[in-house]
């Protein structure tokens, strides 16, 4: 479901997220996205319960969210900055680069990650931008992304 929150942008629940991007269980790492301004910004929310598959093995005595999953949550929120544009909704997207990835704190069961994604440019199927994230107001991980929509990019390939 997609709700228009007027001046606060669009809000997407899990069904709305699945309408926009192809990621699915067990690799969909955002629960809700709000304050979306298509073509500019998205705020993602991911709450981590101990029932997540990765907590028992990572680590048995001290469970925490693996780094690659944190970055996946960041990039999935970033996707919502441009896959919410009606003409690109539901398109497959692929990562081209993940740069400047930084982890500022450990995330443990029971914590919620708030992710803010900014789209800096989106031209001919290539999106560039970054995500920053917070837990209880404290900076968590951040990264810069370049993502492509192959179906759009292929229209510009020399023959």
């Amino acid at each position: 479901m997609i709700k228009n929150m007027d001046d606060k942008g669009l809000c997407f629940d899990i069904a709305g997220i699945k309408e926009c991007q192809k990621n699915r269980y067990p690799l969909l790492y955002i629960d809700k996205v709000q304050n979306v301004i298509p073509g500019k910004f998205a705020r993602g929310i991911k709450c981590f319960s101990y029932n997540e598959w990765f907590f028992p093995p990572h680590f048995e005595d001290e469970p925490s969210v693996p780094g690659f999953i944190q970055v996946e949550a960041l990039v999935q929120t970033f996707l919502m900055t441009f896959l919410t544009i009606s003409e690109f909704k539901g398109e497959k997207a692929m990562g081209l680069s993940w740069d400047n990835v930084k982890f500022k704190r450990t995330i443990i069961p029971g914590e919620c990650l708030i992710i803010e994604s900014h789209l800096l440019s989106f031209k001919r199927g290539i999106a560039k931008g970054y995500s920053v994230s917070f837990v209880d107001g404290e900076p968590a991980c951040s990264a810069e992304f370049m993502v492509v929509i192959p179906s759009v990019l292929s229209k510009f390939n020399p023959k």
Binding site: I126, K155, F156, K159
Partner: protein, 80 residues
């Protein structure tokens, strides 16, 4: 000649190649000039020459030589 120098330098910077390699270069001759590299090249050329290329021209831009012909359409001269 200034524009030719600028044109060559965009290729050199985009693909990390030597000047001796570029004059006969065609799309997909080197791994760096793939579909993504092509978009990077086009963006850099648009920025360097302050132009916005048409879709048909981006598709036709299949070699270093062909690119000169295409960019000339945007009132950029290469023989000044």
């Amino acid at each position: 000649m200034e524009n030719l120098k600028k044109y060559k330098s965009v290729f050199i910077e985009s693909f990390g190649i030597n000047e001796s390699q570029i004059t006969s270069l065609k799309y997909q001759d080197i791994p760096e000039w793939d579909s993504v590299g092509h978009m990077g090249l086009i963006s850099s050329l648009e920025e360097a020459f302050n132009i916005e290329m048409e879709i048909d021209d981006i598709i036709d831009f299949s070699s270093f030589e062909k690119g000169i012909e295409i960019i000339t359409k945007y009132k950029i001269t290469f023989n000044d």
